[in-house]
């Protein structure tokens, strides 16, 4: 195993491009995940989340750019990366005829650092029935078995591709608890994708939003909520919003316009300075995400602004 520099990022992606034939999925994407952070990777379906995750594990090659996972290039050293990373795939398919206990024994020799006692402990904590065949597991049990398999070799970094997909609300809460207790509690780095934003908010330290093959925003969860707000103001006052604020979305509201801005503090300060009457509304993470991915700014013809409903 390579010695790890404490200041090194767990994941460092720089200007990565990836196309499948004519379809350019990633267009110069960059992001950085610090050690010990829980990092939520957000994007609409088809935005390139799974493609990115597969490149992090060396399962796909990039066209351009650089990727480092725990300091290693997954394209050159895929096995070394996978030995140190716990991975839960989006639709983990496992041998249905095997019993849960069998698959854990089967996996053990693939990982030099596999800790079988730990595997059994997690299986117990996560209530995975070891005597049951995999094909008879519920969706929730399946995800949790996948999690046991991803964690039992004590990985430094855990990558989870949409782990909450297909879990009911009770199981999602339980899953979040497991994540908080077993991963955050032990100081590990977690990189996970999701499109259930209200599930992400309580858990993630940092979120990044992927749109059209690029990260349009990466920020601490709470900072993002402080920074992005909706402001109602008279239409003619739009120009007073100030330089440091950038518009994500505008929509007319009678004589007023509702503007979603990044850099809310600067915008509010500018409006105050100019003495413009305005109202500030806090947004939830869903609304912030929506503003970034489907927001429309049409300063000239605000009256005609339309918004596209987001499909999740």
């Amino acid at each position: 195993m390579n010695p790890i520099d404490k200041n090194m990022a767990a994941i460092d992606i720089q200007a990565v491009h990836k196309s499948f034939r004519q379809n350019e999925v990633l267009r110069g994407m960059s992001l950085r995940v610090e050690r010990g952070h829980t990092f939520a990777f957000l994007g609409r379906n088809g935005a390139g989340k799974t493609t990115t995750i597969q490149m992090l594990l060396g399962l796909l090659d990039r066209d351009e750019g650089s990727i480092r996972v725990l300091g290693l290039d997954p394209e050159k050293e895929p096995l070394a990366v996978r030995a140190q990373v716990g991975y839960l795939a989006e639709d983990q398919t496992m041998y249905g005829w095997m019993k849960c206990g069998d698959i854990l024994r089967f996996l053990a020799p693939f990982y030099p650092t596999w800790d079988h006692e730990l595997a059994l402990k997690y299986a117990k904590d996560f209530e995975v029935p070891l005597q049951q065949k995999i094909k008879h597991l519920s969706k929730g049990q399946n995800v949790r078995l996948g999690l046991v398999m991803a964690l039992a070799h004590r990985p430094e970094l855990v990558i989870l591709d949409d782990p909450a997909l297909g879990l009911d609300p009770i199981m999602r809460k339980q899953f979040n608890r497991d994540l908080i207790t077993h991963l955050q509690g032990e100081g590990r780095t977690v990189f996970y994708s999701s499109h259930l934003l209200y599930e992400v908010e309580p858990v993630a330290d940092v979120v990044a939003i992927l749109k059209e093959g690029k990260i349009v925003r990466q920020a601490a969860t709470e900072e993002l909520r402080r920074d992005v707000k909706q402001i109602f103001l008279p239409r003619e006052a739009m120009a007073m919003l100030g330089e440091e604020a950038s518009l994500l979305d505008t929509r007319p509201d009678g004589e007023e316009v509702a503007v979603t801005v990044e850099g809310a503090a600067g915008a509010i300060e500018a409006l105050r300075r100019e003495g413009v009457e305005h109202r500030v509304v806090d947004l939830n993470l869903d609304e912030i995400f929506e503003a970034y991915v489907t927001g429309k700014v049409d300063e000239g013809e605000i009256g005609k602004t339309e918004r596209i409903a987001i499909v999740t």
Partner: protein, 132 residues
């Protein structure tokens, strides 16, 4: 200590937790000197990031509502300054203002809004009685 997190709310989770703990202190449900759950325990219970809980506790300590004793945990402060409760009261007033605005935009009259608030209080008092 029973806290309730509303997911997907426009009120950030840290502010929800801070507000609720402050309310529990103000109403006496959390008594001075009482020990709060550890950061780890509360994070697990609420399924909320440990760093968020830690920031909430730190915030309430700096407001003077809680105190951290080394190696022992976090406790409700014995002499919480009135001023720190005032901060939370201001926040409540702001939230009431927002609610009132919503009411008006729904076309409710002032009397109707008062009536709704009275009903909500009544309901709450019933719930409290049930708990006891």
């Amino acid at each position: 200590m029973l806290l309730r997190i509303e997911k997907g709310s426009a009120v950030p989770i840290s502010r929800q937790i801070t507000g609720q703990i402050a309310m529990l202190c103000a109403s006496g449900k959390l008594e001075p000197g009482e020990r709060l759950p550890s950061v780890r325990e509360l994070a697990r219970e609420l399924a909320v990031n440990q760093n968020t809980i830690l920031r909430v506790y730190e915030r309430l300590v700096s407001d003077g509502l809680l105190e951290m004793r080394h190696g022992q945990g976090t406790f409700v402060a014995k002499d919480a300054p009135e001023s720190s409760l005032a901060v939370h009261r201001e926040r409540l007033v702001e939230e009431l203002r927002q609610l009132a605005r919503q009411g008006i935009s729904l076309g409710l009259s002032a009397d109707q809004i008062h009536e709704l608030l009275a009903k909500a209080l009544e309901q709450l008092q019933k719930d409290v009685r049930c708990e006891i």
